[in-house]
Each structure stands twice: as structure tokens, then as C-alpha cells.
Amino acid sequence: MIDQVKRVVIVGGGSAGWLTAGIIAAEHAAASDQGLEVILVEAPDIKPIGVGEGTWPSMRATLERMGISETEFIGQCDVSFKQGSRFNGWIRGGDAPADHYYHPFTLPTGYPEVNLAVPWQQVRDQVSYAEAVCPQVAVCNGNLAPKTISTPEYAFALNYGYHLNAGKFADFLRRHCTQTLGVTHIKAHVSGVRSADNGDISALLIDQGEPIVGDLFVDCTGLAARLLGEHYGIGYVSKRGVLFNDTALAVQVDYPQPDAPIVSHTLSTAQRAGWVWDIGLPTRRGVGYVYSSAHSTDESAEAAVRAYLAPTIGKDAERVELRKLSFNPGHRREFWHRNCVAVGLSAGFLEPLEATALVLVELSATMIAEQLPSNRQVMDVVAGRFNRRFLYHWERIIDFLKLHYVLSERRDSDYWRDNLDASSVPDTLAEQLLLWRHDYPWRQDTVHAEEMFPSASFAYVLYGMGFSTAPFPHRRRRDQKACARAGELFRQTRADAQKLSGCLPSNRALLKKINAYGLQTI
């Protein structure tokens, strides 16, 4: 008799837990009699940590697969559109307005047939890389939306993800999961784990009621990692030696007027010991300083946040209450052990520089849903694949985040100087950088079919930060092709930027209209 997987139990009800429940339930028809049984158990009094207020564009497909109406999602989760990130003060530091660059979500014009990074080298003194190759920069500068009221749900004029209220998002997902997708919701404290003879988890003991038996257990208990960490003792790989930031001071601030513009990208402003995020929701801004506790005291970090806020909120900057979060940057040694898999903060946590928390949840839950083992015998095979893939993803994210630091010319504090220390740079990143000094990031840099970062992302950061790639010693066909089409594609980018700037509504105007009329599904 083979032990079939008939019941998946998810522990924890933050955005990770409910996203995982929804993705698995939708794929495995949990709402039908023949479907998989999906249970989510959540302690009634634990507040979700509420980080992860920025998503990648992948969230659109994730929500659509779960059968969620984008109009309802936007109306109920304080959503605004995110079209990328703008990095301020990362190149040389100081307040010079020129010290900024964009990492937009829209791929460069001509990508992936033509690599415009090659001909851009000729004009790099006149126009920034992102502006030359992507019309989204102009749209971000104007605080405009990535679509119009006539654009159907999830479709776009320019690629976008979301800024959202994480607490409301979890509530919204819970309603959808329980009312539409057939997820069973149990409110109880998990007080212990009952083990099977083979070491699997056979059931969760709860404070009130029968133990919850299951075939696969998903640990979405946040930093506590109740199952994978506490129960199984799976070790944690700290990356503090690579990514120094381990503390955050977060605050929510009101707009000066209710109809103030909503910025359509995440602002990331470099500081002496970290950087400040600034995320615009329709109702408020979420701001936070994420820094290295080894390089800054809490007091000077607090002073930095208040100084950052002062120009936009005036005297209130002295009064707002800051919330402190501490974390150990890194991830578990493995993520799927026996019949238990960790998704979300229980799997690991890194600073939100490229908003990778929620996308990792989406990717993890999607892989679990798509490769859900039909029985216990094959589960270890899937677990092995899962562990290899996600170790790879974590390493690529760590490399990509570190890339932002090693490219900086800032030397104004130990923090920036220490970031250049060779011992803090992963070998994989050092190798990549060496290659990129002699050739442009291109398709060869994406090794796997499901790579998280396309070569376009590397190019946006590298050339945004002023990186130089030496010209190739001889003329290659692909470079020739790129140079031949450069004039036309640069013109097209400029024309698109102008046209879109003329016809797209402001971020706030579109959100108002969506709440009044809704987006069409076609």
C-alpha cells in the first residue's frame, strides 16, 4: 500500500501561508470532492510580521491563476502599481540628483533579439542606460500608471507589479481561499508535533481539538520556523558576512494631502550604513531604514530615518513612531525535509532591496503545486529537486543584491568600504563581474529555464551604476546587428516614452477610476 498524498496542511496565516494555500488549492481543485484537501492552521492571536509590501510582476499571473479579480484585489488591499525601483545615492552618495538610476520592470526595447547595451556605450555620456532603452523611466518620473481604465485586468501598457498592504492582502487571500478555493481554515495554537515511526510528521497537536493529520506539512510560521527549524532542527546558513543588513526601522506616514501623487516605483535611497525603502500606497507611505547593526547604532539609524522623512512630512518626522525588526540574513540549509517544506520567512530572509520575499513564496508554492508528489515514495525525489532549485535561487538573489553594493563608488563609511572586502563577495559573483568587465550581460548569463533574474536586470543595475564593459576585441555579428538597429530602437523608445506619457493617467487617478468602475476582464 502506497501512502498517497491526500491532505496538505499549512501552518501559519500570513501572506506566505495564504498564498501557498491558494496556489496549491487552485491547482489541485481543493473545492471539488475529487480534489486535494488543503488545511491552513493559524494561531488566532499571532500578528503577521507584515513585511513584503512590494511584489514582482509575477504576482499578476499568480493572482490570475487563483481566479482572483484584479479589481477586487486593488479595492481591498490598498494596492498601487509598482513599475520598478529607483536607486538614489547608490553611485557616489551625497544628495546630487544625478546620483540615481532605475531598474524598471519592462525589458529593454529589442530584447532579447538585440542587445542595446552595446550601442548605448557610444551615447552613455548623454543618456542613462534605462532611459535610452526603456520608455518606463519617463512614465515613472511622471508618477503615471502602467495602464488605462480600458486595459483589461492583468494586461498592461508597461509591465508592472504591486505595492500593497500586507495585512489586508493576507485577509483578502484568506477570504478567497476559504470561500472560493475550498481551503479549510482552523484557528488553533499548534502545541506539538506527532511523529511517525519513519520520522515524518504524522499530525500537529493543537491546544483545542483533535490533532491535525496530514501527508505534507508546509511551514509558513515566519521567522520562528516551527516545523523545519524547531522540530527538525534544520540549520540556518547566515549570510551576514555577505549582506550586512540585519536590522530595520519601519514607519508608516500619511500623505501631506489625500490626493498627493502616488509614486509608481519603490524608492531606495542609500545611507551611511544601509538604505531607506519608500513605498507609496494609496492611503499612506511605508518607509523603513534597513541597516547593518555592526555599522550603525540604533540611535544614528533613527536619526537617519527622521532626516529622510523631514523634507516630505515636516515636523511630523520628529514624532512618528518607528518599529524595529531584527533578522539574521540567510536561509535554511534545506527547505524540504521529509514531509515538511518551508515557504516564506521560515525558509529564509534577506533585505528587501529587490523585493524578493513574496516572489520566492510564489515560486515555492508554484513548484509544490506543480510537482506535488502523488505519494510518499516519490516525495523525497521531489524534495531533492526542490532543495537544489531553491538553493540556486537563494544564491542568485544573494549575488544580485550584493552586486548593488560592490558597484558603488561610495567610500564615506566603513559600511561601504567593508562591502568591497573580497572575503564578503561570493565567488560566483566575482566570476560574473570579471566576465562582465569583458562582455555584456546577455542570454548566456541565464543558465536555467526558470532563472529569477534575466540578463536585462543585470544590465539595468550594472550600467545604471556606471559600470564599464570593455569593447569586444573584434566585431561580432550580434554586436553589428545591435549597432545597425540602434538608431531605430532608441528612436522607438523615445517615441513610446512620449506617447505613453501623454496618454497614461496618473497612478492615483487610475486607482480611483478602478474603484469606481472596475477593470474589464477582456
Binding site: I149, A516, Q520
Partner: protein, 244 residues
């Protein structure tokens, strides 16, 4: 900016309205909004497409007169070449307005006729009178009033019709590729039609519900109207032949 005034027989006693059909009076338009109750009359002459209103993203039905902005292939020196002109055109320069009033202490709204004073149709010397010598409505104004009333009722019901189409996934976007006699190619984008495949697969209960709501007839009227695309292309060919 258009200036709309509440129509009354004192301020507007002397006004006349030019009912001639010509470009200078604002008739040079690609389409006119229409509504399901008008489909039967419209489909005898014009293709009926659906489009999204720019301001709200909501679907509207349209009687098509041309293939590009500002093109009306029914309009010529001799006027409008069709025996039926959609009410959305005929009602110009009048529109429906709402007025609040008190009745037995309860505030109510009533429909009133507004006049677009900036319309080139408004004249003091030429066209149809609005009022009779001693203040009563002219037959022309009576006709306009009943057209406005019909439109009001029709547009008020239209969103339910659209909702039914969306619910049954009966709308689909399409792009029309046209090759004219001179070999030039044109494309019409941003419009929607009835998805006939989905319609053909609807079950008896769904069809009965649509029929009961009164939507089955306009759905088939919209489908039948597609035959006028050919006619519109011919008009375009003729116009280009005349111009060369």
C-alpha cells in the same frame, strides 16, 4: 468647453436648430453610441461594434460610420446617405439633464432637456423652430423630446445588457484588416464583437434567460449587422476613387 443650458421657452424662444447633415455641423464622426433597443433600426444600415469608453473603461455599443477617427462614409455634399440616422446623432444639440425639485417635502429628480449652446447647429435665422408663437413646443422639439426619452431609457438598460454579454463571455476583441481597391491596407483595432462560437455553445437555460431579459434579439441584430462591414469598405473604395 461646452456650455449646457436648461431649455426654456423664454431664453430660447427665438432659437432655431439646423438639422442639415454636414461636416461643419459636427457630423464628421467615426461612430455614434447606440443601445440595444436601437439595434434593430441600426443594423439595417451600419455595423454594430462594441468599444470601451475612454473615461470609464465600460463597454458601449457603437453604430459604425467609418474606419478612422473623424471619418463618416455616409456623409457627402448631399447629406447623410441612409434612411435611418442613429438617435445619438439626431438628438444633437440636445441632451438629457436632471433637475432636482421638491414634492411634498421630498426631494426628487426629473429629466429635463439641455441645449449645447456652443453647437454650430444653433442659429437665429435658419433651421427648425423650437417653440410655437405662443410658447408651446414645436413638432420638431416634440420629436427631439421623444428621441431623448427613448435614448435615456435605452442607455439606462444598456449596462445590464453589457453585463449579460460579459457574464456569458459573449464579447471578444477583434481587429479588422481591410484591403482597399488601391491595394492599401488598413487595420481597425480596439473594437469588440459578439463571440459567435460561445453563443453557439450556450445551453437551453442560458438562452432562455437571455431571451427572457430581452437580450437575445439585440445579440442577433449585432451579429446580422456585420454584413455592413462590406458595405462600409465599398463606400471607402468609392470615396477614394472619387478623390483620385
Amino acid at each position: 468647453m461646452t456650455s449646457h443650458q436648461l431649455l426654456n421657452n423664454i431664453d430660447h424662444k427665438e432659437l432655431r436648430v439646423i438639422t442639415k447633415r454636414a461636416a461643419e455641423y459636427g457630423d464628421q464622426v467615426m461612430f455614434s453610441p447606440t443601445f440595444p433597443d436601437e439595434f434593430r433600426s441600426v443594423q439595417a444600415h451600419y455595423p454594430i461594434f462594441f468599444y470601451k469608453d475612454n473615461a470609464t473603461g465600460q463597454f458601449q455599443a457603437a453604430a459604425m460610420f467609418g474606419f478612422s477617427t473623424g471619418e463618416n462614409l455616409f456623409l457627402s455634399d448631399r447629406g447623410w446617405d441612409a434612411t435611418y440616422i442613429p438617435l445619438g446623432i439626431v438628438r444633437q444639440p440636445f441632451l438629457i439633464g436632471f433637475q432636482e425639485f421638491q414634492e411634498d417635502g421630498v426631494s426628487k429628480t426629473q429629466r429635463v432637456i439641455h441645449l449645447d449652446m456652443d453647437s454650430p447647429r444653433i442659429s437665429k435665422t435658419e433651421g427648425e423652430s423650437l417653440f410655437l408663437e405662443y410658447g408651446g413646443n414645436s413638432p420638431y422639439l416634440e420629436q427631439v423630446a421623444s428621441a431623448l426619452e427613448l435614448m435615456h431609457q435605452g442607455f439606462e438598460r444598456a449596462p445590464t445588457f453589457i453585463a449579460a454579454l460579459l457574464e456569458h463571455e459573449l464579447l471578444e476583441s477583434f481587429s479588422l484588416d481591410i484591403e482597399l481597391n488601391d491595394g492599401s491596407n488598413h487595420q481597425l483595432q480596439g473594437f469588440y464583437t459578439i463571440n459567435e462560437d460561445t453563443l453557439a455553445k450556450l445551453g437551453g437555460d442560458q438562452l432562455a434567460a437571455l431571451n427572457e431579459a430581452g437580450w437575445l434579439q439585440p445579440i442577433y441584430m449585432a451579429i446580422a449587422s456585420q454584413s455592413h462591414i462590406r458595405d462600409l469598405i465599398e463606400r471607402k473604395n468609392l470615396q477614394m476613387a472619387r478623390e483620385t
